[in-house]
Symmetry: C2
Subunit: 186 residues, 2 copies
DNA sequence: GTCTATACGTGGATAGAC
DNA sequence: GTCTATCCACGTATAGAC
């Protein structure tokens, strides 16, 4: 596979951004073409199955980003508490303090979600697993760790929805604060 | 305004259902026509501004439904605890135990959301206000009541998103359980 | 109020030259 | 790998008869 003019990585970053802000349905090929600087034919060269293939690869790309930015730091030898704080700071920055939407949530609500259900679900499951590990490491009882992890994502996603809907980032900031103080408590 | 063949109320119920399951973007006029049994022209007779007017009226309709089913019962003389339990049971049924999506969340993620931002925001604010009142009545400190109310919606919306994404209603059931046990605590 | 027919734009997707 | 040009389906929306 010869190197493309614009590295695929970079294209995926742009697609991630576009799908996040415009939604999967709202991101038209015309818009995507504009954003990436690639003509439609070029896009179909890289993604023969069209938009479905784009979002699928974007989801994998996002998963890799999360792996590097969130999950990998959680496997270091730092104290769980410090790792939690670091993770929350990263999340805070990633969602611009609650001003930015979440690609995952947007994708869940899209018309064609059935066509990329699996990769979408996978990102959530990986994220939950990472949080569960952290809980276990901090001494949270095994039968409670998974629920805790799921509930953390519930709060993050829900807070992003509400913050956008009422145009107030307070719910998001509180959600992170609450996770900071209670996710790892026994 | 002469009575329509099919009462407008009933049409709005059908639209609510369709927008919820298919999303605003995914609900095409063809589909809406099919579901309601009204031809496209009839739809434009009732909703001259098209889909935007439909969703706007559906949101108002939903607000009235919530008023009757959720908010009005909260203003009775029952104990706050009993009223909370009743509300959670209604919510549980409304979202089919976490299997059904939330129109509000779907609408938030739609392409044309800017065109019905206000009515959408209004439903959230009314709901939050109702929860806040209940908190205050139960003796939750005034400076905490609003946050509590917002956080309750965060959990409900977030749980619906996650439950759908990972195809597991457990997060939703837990969210309601947690609200039952902690929303009104001091 | 409802219907049939249709206009018009834009969506995703392709063909074929370079 | 990228471009221009184009296809077709479907989207919303409208016209005009009944």
């Amino acid at each position: 596979m010869p190197a493309a003019i614009r590295p695929l990585e970079e294209v995926l970053d742009l697609l991630l951004e576009t799908f996040t802000s415009d939604g999967y349905d709202g991101a038209s090929l015309a818009r995507i073409s504009e954003v990436t600087g690639l003509g439609k034919s070029s896009l179909y060269h890289h993604f023969p199955r069209g938009k479905v293939e784009m979002i699928t690869k974007v989801l994998r790309h996002l998963e890799q980003q999360l792996e590097q930015a969130l999950f990998a730091p959680m496997r270091t030898k730092e104290s769980p508490k410090k790792k939690l704080d670091a993770m929350l700071a990263t999340i805070d920055a990633f969602y611009a303090g609650g001003k930015k939407a979440c690609l995952l949530e947007r994708a869940c609500a899209s018309v064609d979600r059935a066509q990329f259900r699996r990769p979408l679900q996978h990102v959530f499951l990986v994220w939950i697993a990472a949080l569960e590990s952290l809980c276990l490491e901090a001494g949270v009882p095994p039968d409670a760790a998974k629920s805790r992890a799921q509930d953390a994502l519930v709060r993050i996603e829900g807070a992003l929805v509400l913050a956008a809907a009422i145009n107030d980032t307070a719910p998001f900031r509180r959600a992170l604060d609450q996770l900071r103080s209670s996710l790892l408590s026994k």
